[in-house]
Symmetry: C2
Amino acid sequence: MENLRKHIEEITPISDDEFEYVRTFFTKKRVRKHQFLIQAGDRVACEYWIANGVFRAFYVDDGGREHILQFALENSWLSDYHAFFYQTGANMNVVCMEEAEVFCLTLLAREKLASDLHKMEHFFRMKVTSGYTAQQHRIISLLSRNPRERYEEFGSLFPDIVKRIPKKYIAEYLGISRETLSRIHPAHRRRSLN
Amino acid sequence: MENLRKHIEEITPISDDEFEYVRTFFTKKRVRKHQFLIQAGDRVACEYWIANGVFRAFYVDDGGREHILQFALENSWLSDYHAFFYQTGANMNVVCMEEAEVFCLTLLAREKLASDLHKMEHFFRMKVTSGYTAQQHRIISLLSRNPRERYEEFGSLFPDIVKRIPKKYIAEYLGISRETLSRIHPAHRRRSLN
């Protein structure tokens, strides 16, 4: 859990006693590759902090096509946030792509933590604020850039993700069809044809 | 400013003394139709709370095309958030569409307010959290729905905006070309042809 402390301290200093209190709110969970953390329709009990491993959160449309909302690597937070905050059934699926260890935080625990410790309220505000500005950037990119530009921009912004996630999922995240991905990235087409 | 108090109290109760303190952080500003609140390249000094009026925030791409990130009506908050939080030059433009009165909050004032009053930290966290979940919904819609579905969904989610904003701007917000808008909404084409 030492990494969670480091992660919090990127935003706000925290004393030993405070961190001892913070850690009591989390429950550890191991997740195997291909295992679902959230399935569409489920009640979403938790937000997850990823200690290690890789996940993707995706929506499946009426035609059965997958659309990726988020990739989550170590040190990131993940949930179906609408379902989590409003306590409705999940709209998303979250699946494990690399064996993982996560720490679960229920909504009740999260709100109590934020209410008990002003610095944790601050921490959560800062995290959601940076998520908000990153999403604004993504929306502008979806509206204004063509598929090749989006693919190149993603590669320059998130080199760590590109190294660990198959290209077909990155294309889904960027709203790029397989045909277009093959034009952008001929190596992908060659592998697909073999 | 009584509406600002009501707006805050939708999230958290606030005493008379506390509200007296909160209001000292804001500066009132009148904005005329077509006036810019933020222009691309500018330093972004403030976040704005809209007391009344209508604004749109948009990005202009290299080809001169406008892409709309946000409409803001009364009781909403607006800025170029990336530029505001990271104190970089604006990437967006914000223009007034209906004569407006806004209350400006600098980054320094916002952070001091959140730090001095835990309940204001909570208020800002709740506001950005609901913005975050709404943006996730918009990203899924952009990735998974066709233009007609996006247009119909927008109309059912935001009837107040549809009443006050010309259709061509709603199409820009939804990433729908003028040609497609004419097919979805023949009345728009008829007016455009006259």
